[in-house]
């Protein structure tokens, strides 16, 4: 599987450096791949055929996970994939492989402490792995600080490496001539698109250059992650609230730190309105600076999550159907239809995030000469 994936990307990139890095990746992946034969049966035989189980399965997919599972066999309860390193801070650094959890089925013992994976979170437990609940059915066990290299972190790293290779290659191709060759021909118009359609119209020709690095990075980062989320790898990075919060915070801080005097004046002492209005407007404007990035993070999160839920639910139609021969084609057609829309959404959300970031930055740096 990883070999195939590796060679596929190899053919696309056709670069020596890429070959080396991917070889290392492939080696690491395939050697660790041989684990994951947890064959104990789950409580419900691992089958996914009722509505509540499908809900749980979808919810599980939407969450981050401590190992990279490619697929699971419901009958035998086995998972195929590879474990990832777990890094905990619990009165000292604890590093161990996530294979110790056996997908949450066993308790991991590290340095005399016991940890259990429960609904995607690591809790400190006793030797039996008892989880205590409060009245709202929330686990009350202590949670150590979790800095694990999770599935999403691996995906982010993968996308980062891909971006470095793709755009580093494009940058290098300019040394040979004014026109890029190969894959760079695809990337260059996209870079120009971000510059001419997103950055310059919103920030202005004189000031846009300083923010191009951030806008380009964020645009391609989100787009690639959105697209990866549509592959059967089953990752959901941009539909994770921590990721979108982080991205939105970057926009927020860049906006606030590059803002000029006029921007702050408009927030704290709005010119051209009576004093009483100035006082009323101040908290509203301050709140406004926060609601902008908040809308950003919720929009991206909700769109991508919704897309994943819809596609998985449509696929799940097959399993809940009374008549499988009627439902399968319907489900497949609907899934293909929604997938095409999601392909558009993948681009659209990256575009909107970058566009709005550029807009907020533009509002913060523009000259209010017209007042």
């Amino acid at each position: 599987m990883h070999g195939n994936l590796g060679t596929e990307i190899l053919y696309v990139m056709q670069k020596r450096t890429v070959v080396k890095i991917l070889l290392i990746f492939t080696l690491v992946f395939t050697t660790t791949n041989l684990f994951a034969k947890a064959s104990e049966k789950g409580e419900n035989d691992g089958k996914v055929d009722t509505k509540s189980e499908i809900d749980a399965y979808i919810e599980h997919h939407l969450q981050d996970s401590h190992d990279f599972t490619l697929w699971s066999d419901g009958e035998t309860g086995s998972h195929v994939g590879f474990p990832l390193p777990v890094i905990l801070w619990d009165n000292g650094l604890k590093v161990f492989s996530s294979s110790k959890f056996h997908h949450g089925e066993t308790v991991a013992e590290v340095d005399g402490n016991f940890y259990k994976l429960y609904h995607g979170k690591i809790y400190k437990t006793d030797a039996e792995g008892t989880i205590n609940y409060d009245e709202d059915y929330h686990a009350t066990n202590a949670k150590p600080l979790d800095f694990s290299i999770t599935k999403n972190v691996v995906t982010i790293l993968l996308v980062s490496v891909l971006m470095l290779l793709m755009f580093g290659g494009l940058a290098k191709s300019y040394k040979k001539g004014a026109l890029p060759t190969g894959f760079g021909r695809v990337l260059e118009p996209l870079v120009i698109y971000v510059r001419d359609e997103i950055a310059i119209p919103n920030i202005g020709k004189e000031k846009h250059r300083k923010f191009m690095g951030f806008l380009l990075t964020v645009f391609f980062f989100i787009w690639l992650l959105n697209l990866l989320g549509m592959t059967p790898l089953g990752v959901n990075v941009t539909g994770n609230i921590a990721i979108t919060v982080c991205l939105a915070l970057f926009t927020y801080f860049i906006t606030q730190f590059s803002a000029n005097k006029e921007y702050w004046k408009h927030i704290f002492w709005m010119p051209g309105v009576p004093v009483i209005m100035k006082i009323v407007l101040m908290p509203i404007e301050i709140l406004g600076t926060l609601t902008k990035p908040f809308a950003l993070l919720i929009r991206l999160f909700a769109n991508i999550t919704a897309g994943h839920v819809v596609i998985m639910s449509l696929i799940a139609l097959i399993f809940t159907a009374q008549n499988i021969y009627v439902m399968t084609p319907v489900s497949l057609l609907l899934t293909i239809f929604i997938s095409v829309i999601e392909l558009l959404v993948a681009f659209l959300q990256a575009f909107i995030f970058t566009m709005l970031s550029a807009l907020f930055i533009g509002l913060a740096v523009q000259d209010h000469d017209h007042h």
Partner: protein
Amino acid sequence: MDKLINDFSFGLFFWQALILLVLLFLLRKYAWKPILDSLNNREEGIKNALESAEEAKKEMQNLQADNERIFNEARAERDGMLKEAKQLKENIIADAKSDAQTEADKIVAQAQATIVSEKKAAIAELKSQVAELSIEIAEKVVRKELDSKDKQLELVESMLGDVTLK
């Protein structure tokens, strides 16, 4: 909302922030800067090339206009020269004509004068010849008339008769 906060993983946030920072830094240095610079240079180059092409076109047009102007001037000069030459020719012809006319008039006048004087001379000669002839005739007639004595006397008498004494 509660679920969202519950789903928020600080570890993932930490890694994402770290990776994004590093990625931003690396891409900025090794990708975006050279890419955007090359794009700018290329666009600048294209712009300059277009401008210089435009300039060359303008120069060409200027040159063409110059050529046209010079050509027109030359043509005008040629036309002027031709016209002048024509004028000159006409003037010469006219002069020649008037000269010839006056000469001819002069000749004619001279001829007329000569004719008049010749005529006068001829008439005078004719007169004198007629006079001589008439005298000769008269002589002969007289001689014939007066060859007898009677007649001579008769004549003297008639002539004396005509003469009255004062």
